[in-house]
Amino acid sequence: MGGHLNINHLFFLGHGALWTIGLSMIALVGGGIAGFVIALARISPLKSVRIASGAYVQLIQGTPLLVILFLGYFGLAAIGFSVSPLAAAGASLTLYVAAYLGEIWRGCIESVPKPQWEAAEGLALSRTQRMIKVILPQAVRIATPPTVGFMVQIVKNTSLASVVGFVELMRSGQIVNNSLFEPFMVYAIIAVVYFAMCYPLSLLSQRLERRMGRGRLTLAPA
Amino acid sequence: MRQDVGIVFQSYNLFPHLTIEQNIALAPCSVKRMAAAQAKELARKVLAQVGLEEKLHAYPEQLSGGQQQRAAIARSLAMQPKVMLFDEITSALDPELTGEVLKVIEQLAADGMTMVMVTHEMGFAKGIADRIVFMHRGKVHETGPASILTSPTTPELTQFVGTGNLKS
């Protein structure tokens, strides 16, 4: 029974780690684009748009990512839409990330000082011009530290894709463990690899935050 | 020793999460183990001394700067100190509010409280102090009775009183 950790195992784990990065990228890009739309919708002049986007955020933020994943994989399959684990994980993470990034970015847009909005209005810029030329460039600066901080959450949350069978780092660890039967050691290695990916992002986020001179609390879904 | 000395700060430093009554009762209750009812009675008494009896249940942020400073003095008084230190207690207040705080100090002086006061209010110091120490850039330049302010001997103090600081 069992065996020893060998180079093949490490190679397999490395492959899983690459997919963790890949899935994180998919979630960041997909969730970023959708989240940007959500952020703008949340401050739309149209009430119905504000209510719809607000409801979306509330729904997603009130549901565990794991349940969204199950719904996207097992749920869709049960009603006749079979999707691959990658598609299910990518789509679920995108939906999830969009709600959180949307809220973070809305806060950043709204925290651009009021006089800036008024000044832009005084210059007779249209609403779109005001957004693109005046507000967003400043909001991007404010948004950078919390966004980098949220990337840590994205990387960690990709581990949930393992439960629908997508072979990223966590799942590759489980597979390696199935041949080694050394769960504590294997998961400790996995933890170290996650830490190596996340900690630099955390540090970067803290450093950016300090440079901006504002100690703000960013919430972190575990 | 710390119990015998009361300190009042320039920035009041009232505890924002506590009512004025709780601000005053906190130290007597936790340091002197006074019963709550007795501490409440004490709070009422010292607040009356600074003319703020009606603010017993208000929170600090509901008070003006001058009222907050008077409440801070009351909080200090509640520990029945032998000596009180006042560290630029009127520097953050505009002249009108400064007046109401200084009136409280006058009353304390009349009641015989020993007080050490750091201040820029030269007119006030002259009127009330038994002894004045003039300091400039961390050095003592002159000490003596209040009269040193009217007949300064060092150039530093001469210059200071000459700049109109005495009119108040």
């Binding site: 933890a191 | 300190i7 936790s30 929170y59």
Partner: protein, 227 residues
């Protein structure tokens, strides 16, 4: 091909769903209480004069915040087992969630401590309060009041994250759902139902924390400062 949904077939299992929801709430409440204590200790520890203690607390916080909960749960599960401890999956889940939320609590509490103005402590020293009394009345309680919204949001997120405990077969809402869907072959309906239940649970928790805040912080209640 038409989609046929049959919610009644799944909803007739409502006692199981309800039981699962109650278990999830229990799991979250245990972890919240223990995690709040652990996190506060860690936040205090980070400010300790002993460098060893401060460092240990920092390592704990960073290690937890930079690894996935799922990995932590497996590590606790197999770690305790390898120590020869035979614990129920529920107990292991409480332990893992406590360790997890403790780190986030520590970070939030630290921000609360740092926001206490120096003058507050000087004033308390001037009133001859002891070190412990200062920590309790002037630092800890006001800090909790200040970070209460962030703390409680974190605890709601913890409740949602507890769904991961289904992976070590701890009994809670998601585990119940996994069982029901494998029994009824109605995965879509089952997961929709528990998604709704989780949303209700998070609303219940928010309402509970809001009410608790009114009781705990009379100033907020009196002055109408939003919690």
């Amino acid at each position: 091909m038409g989609i046929q949904l049959d919610f009644p077939a799944v909803l007739e299992r409502w006692p199981s769903f309800l039981g699962g929801a109650v278990l999830t709430l229990e799991l979250a409440l245990f972890a919240t209480v223990f995690g709040a204590l652990l996190g506060t200790l860690a936040a205090v520890g980070r400010g300790a004069h002993r460098a060893v203690i401060a460092r240990a607390c920092k390592i704990y916080v960073e290690a937890i915040r930079n690894t996935p909960l799922l990995v932590q749960i497996f590590l606790v599960y197999f770690g305790l087992a390898s120590l020869g401890l035979k614990l129920s999956a529920f107990t292991v889940a409480v332990a893992a969630l406590t360790i997890n939320v403790g780190a986030y609590t520590a970070e939030i509490m630290r921000a609360g401590f740092e926001a206490i103005p120096r003058g507050q402590i000087e004033a308390a020293e001037g009133l001859a309060l002891s070190r412990f009394q200062i920590y309790w009345h002037i630092i800890l309680l006001p800090a909790v009041e200040r970070v209460y919204p962030a703390l409680t949001s974190q605890f709601v997120l913890l409740m949602l994250a507890s769904s991961v405990c289904s992976q070590i077969s701890a009994e809670e809402l998601t585990a119940v759902a996994n069982y029901i869907q494998s029994d009824t072959y109605r995965a879509f309906e089952t997961y929709i139902i528990i998604a709704v239940l989780y949303i209700i649970l998070s609303l219940v928790m928010r309402a509970g924390f809001w009410g608790l805040g009114l009781v705990l912080f009379p100033r907020r209640r009196r002055l109408g400062t939003p919690l």
